[in-house]
């Protein structure tokens, strides 16, 4: 009498299927030239930011050292990006500024993700009046342009990098709360979640093991796109004169100062401006690429 094989598929097989899917995703990502360019710029920026202390041509300039004798030098071998009104090396300031921009951009998105995500899970899972209250608050906050809201909060809190991060986070969490809420509410109705619940799985485990892993994709795509826009908002706040104050070098603040020296000293504006542009572009391309890879429905 033959034996029927009733054992479950071995874990090894499932893993190889997953590895194959991952290999395919990496292949798709590499197929898209723009995503690879985005990834390359992002990697360069992050490396520069991490290694900044060792890369600075004139390390004293980031702590506020001035050198009026070499003010407004055009780009040269000694100063690749030229110098500013007090003789500081622009390349040094731009390199060090990458730390401020990337750190605040990434921190803002992480905080917004944690706060918005938690509120979104509560709203989507619990529903009822809690859902209603959280969603109406996000509605209200989203009718105010984020730049104006962030400016108002940052101005009231005072200057400083952390106050700026808090201000931007306040404007940013509602979008994540809405996204996560919609995804959680949809997944809650799915058969596999209902089945797990019937089997007696508790709410924490249900959300942590069965719901959240299934909503990671759209959230990750949005977060990677948003890092670029958060960097842009940081620079915008610096540009209007709110946020990080000199001597800490910040790209937007540098650009605002450079405005006063146009057009003779164009290099004081071109290099920090290009740095902002490249940072935003890198994360936009990266996010677009990730969306193509992770979310096949929206692929071109």
């Amino acid at each position: 009498m033959s034996q029927i094989d009733t054992s479950l598929p071995r874990a090894g097989l499932a893993r190889s299927a997953r590895a194959e899917a991952r290999a395919r995703a990496i292949y798709r990502f590499r197929q898209s030239l723009l995503s690879v360019i985005g990834l390359a710029i992002a990697v360069i920026l992050i490396t520069v930011a991490l290694l900044a202390p060792w890369l600075l041509p004139y390390p004293d300039d980031v702590t506020g050292a001035v050198n009026p004798a070499v003010a407004f030098q055009p780009p040269s071998a000694a100063h690749w990006f030229g110098t500013n009104s007090v003789g500081q090396d622009i390349m040094t300031l731009v390199i060090y500024g990458s730390r401020i921009s990337l750190l605040s951009g990434v921190t803002v998105i992480l905080l917004a993700l944690i706060i918005g995500g938690a509120l979104g899970v509560i709203a989507g899972w619990v529903g009822g009046w809690i859902d209603e209250v959280i969603m109406r608050i996000t509605d209200l906050l989203l009718t105010i342009p984020s730049l104006i809201l962030a400016m108002a909060v940052a101005a009231a809190l005072g200057t400083g990098i952390w106050n700026m991060i808090i201000a931007i986070t306040i404007t940013w969490w509602p979008t994540y709360a809405r996204l996560v809420r919609a995804e959680v509410a949809a997944k809650k109705q799915e058969q596999f979640v209902i089945a797990s619940r019937v089997l007696g799985v508790g709410p924490m485990r249900l959300i942590g093991r069965h719901v959240l892993p299934n909503i990671v994709t759209p959230v990750v795509v949005k977060a990677s796109l948003d890092v670029g826009f958060a960097i842009l908002l940081v620079a915008s706040l610096g540009f209007v004169g709110i946020g990080v104050k000199p001597p800490t070098p910040e790209w937007g603040t540098m650009l605002a100062e450079a405005r006063n020296y146009m057009p003779q000293y164009w290099w004081t504006a071109i290099f920090p401006g290009t740095a902002i542009f490249l940072a935003v572009l890198a994360f936009n391309l990266l996010g677009d690429g990730l969306r193509d890879v992770l979310d096949p429905r929206t692929r071109r």
Binding site: T143, V240, A269, V280
Partner: protein, 335 residues
Amino acid sequence: MLWYVIRRLLLIIPTLLGLSVIVFAIARLLPGDPVGLAAGPNATPEVIASVAAEFGLDKPIPVQYWNYLTGLLQGDWGVSLFSRRPVAADLAEFVPATLELVIAALLIAVIVGIPLGLLAAIWRDGIFDYLTRTVSLGAIAMPRFFLGLLLQLAFAMALNWLPLSGRFPLIEFPPERITGFYTVDAILIGDWHALGVALQHLALPALALSLSPLATILRMMRASTIEVLQQDYILTERALGIPSWIILFKYTLRNAVSATLTVIGLYVSWLLGGTVLVETIFDWPGIGLYSTQAILGQDFMPVIGVTLVIAMIYLVTSVIVDILQAVLNPKVRLQ
């Protein structure tokens, strides 16, 4: 339809009410000392107390809010702590300037973005498509203030074609105020010289503001046109031998634009926020510049006023977009 519009417009009121609570709370509960700033660095406690009393800032915050709200309903939007001018008068002066800029930018974005997106979709994967796609990705990442600076550098400083900043030359009188829009007023009174001058001043800031929405509209338009072109009914029309330009203009365009419209509506709020930076760069006397100055001075009455006006414009726009949506696409039912 009419009832729908009325109900949607009425729903704006509770939203604005809720918003006024939130903005008031942000303005008043956060640390910061607007009274001290307004009274000056050498003010004695008595002076500070009298300034606080003058603006009613010595009362509990709920009372302050109630006074603000009842004033608002009577057209009193509060008074600026610094200029001591009524906020309502300032807004009446600055809102048209900003609207003129935003509408000009939106017009550029729509007039250029929709045809380019359509062409990119028709010549899909061709050189034109690739070029516009790459350039539009760059355009979205371009900071508006950096773009504004580059435009000034090129067209105002190097080439000297257009004025550097401002809305009208300081030595000339702007056209007589009818709507507050210089271009519209100049046309209404038939002052063609003033129209030319106003347009010259409008060109660079509108361009700087329009690039990012232009790129987004282009991308949206391309995506939705491609989607429509893949529908079965288009295939049927092709099979029936209907000329491709009729298919395009009669059967595709309308559906594709309807999807793009939502994005355009969403962009109005973005544009109103974006004017802050563009107005700062170009010294454009609108609510962006006004609110920046107010925020930097923690002069919160103007800030609350600007926020409420922007929210109102945004909410009215979304009603208009929904109505246009229903006009373009009979499948959308207004409920």
